[in-house]
Symmetry: C2
Subunit: 201 residues, 2 copies
């Protein structure tokens, strides 16, 4: 890939990246025309081929970008790990929300890439995705002080319920197409308040 790409303004870079995410998220690798990505990004196909020597390189670049951003997000969301489970969940959603705002189609792109079967890229996709599959997810109950919760509460089930509801909420939000981070934060705060009212002593 051409280093000149990094000399572009951040907006221009993001425009290209998001165009790539969008088109590759909407179609399989083979059915995603480079021209469509260029048009979406507001540049010509030739220029895109100037920055990335071919379609495969562009695709794998996007996949790496995706991994990098996700890793960064997980880091951020866990940065203030404490023993307040509600705070942790709140920060987790916040990080995800801002990620969705900056790269709206990245999530769908990564899902598509995960299931990509085209022999031209499949192997490289596995190679890039492999380490990131084993990564620490937040499906596992973080350590916490159980004394503050109501007696007899099944903490694992509580966490599972909250995790599932968060996923469901994010999914529901993404279905609408418009990501309104402010509204998401407000909604989620209310949900967390509800959880506190039923789970805490």
């Amino acid at each position: 890939m051409n280093d000149k790409f990094y000399a572009l303004s951040e907006e221009k870079q993001n425009a290209i990246i998001n165009a790539g995410f969008k088109v590759f998220a909407g179609n399989s690798y083979k059915k995603s025309p480079v021209n469509e990505i260029a048009l979406e990004a507001g540049i010509s196909k030739s220029l895109l081929f100037f920055y990335f020597k071919n379609k495969k390189e562009l695709y794998l670049f996007l996949l790496k970008k995706c991994e990098e951003v996700t890793k960064q997000m997980l880091l951020e969301s866990g940065a203030y790990k404490g023993n307040d489970i509600f705070e942790i969940m709140y920060r987790g959603l916040l990080a995800k929300a801002s990620m969705i705002k900056r790269y709206p189609d990245m999530g769908n792109f990564s899902i598509k890439a995960y299931y990509e079967k085209d022999p031209e890229v499949a192997n490289d996709v596995r190679k890039i995705i492999a380490p990131y599959t084993n990564m620490e997810t937040n499906k596992i109950l973080p350590p916490m002080d159980s004394s503050q919760f109501k007696e007899g509460l099944d903490l694992n089930m509580m966490y599972r319920d909250m995790y599932l509801a968060s996923e469901g909420y994010l999914w529901q939000m993404q279905q609408t197409g418009i990501i309104d981070v402010d509204r998401m934060v407000a909604d989620y705060k209310k949900i967390i308040e509800f959880w506190k009212s039923i789970y805490l002593k």
Copy 2:
């Protein structure tokens, strides 16, 4: 469309329908080759064009099928409407799960169709989808006897949390690719037991 299609065995019909759902769910209308659908269904392209006179007809047939199945499902899941909210939710998930099992890609197909912009089909899609958008969804709290729940419980928030968690669970299940209805039922029963333990008096 050719009535001979209905003379086919149910398995053959479903094979064709599911092949259509799968391919159209994975790509936009224009980028979904009829040949790929035929291959996936285990028949030749010519035969598919024998049953459906062109691509558009096949697509709209699938969309109607989708609407019909969804309507049926909503009917089933609400058939035993009582005042037991947990029972209602359980039946709801059960209906959705069995629908996913029979038509694994139907959900993604309907989402794709909803956002389809190709002028060749967009108008007809709106026409078919329109009545079904206004349909009664289960996002609204059903009437229930509040005396059995814990004092001061916000029933709307409770229902919202349960609904979101159910969506999140279904989404998570569908991501795995393998729909194991038995496991889903078992999982969901445990989740509902948990809800009962925290919400009921």
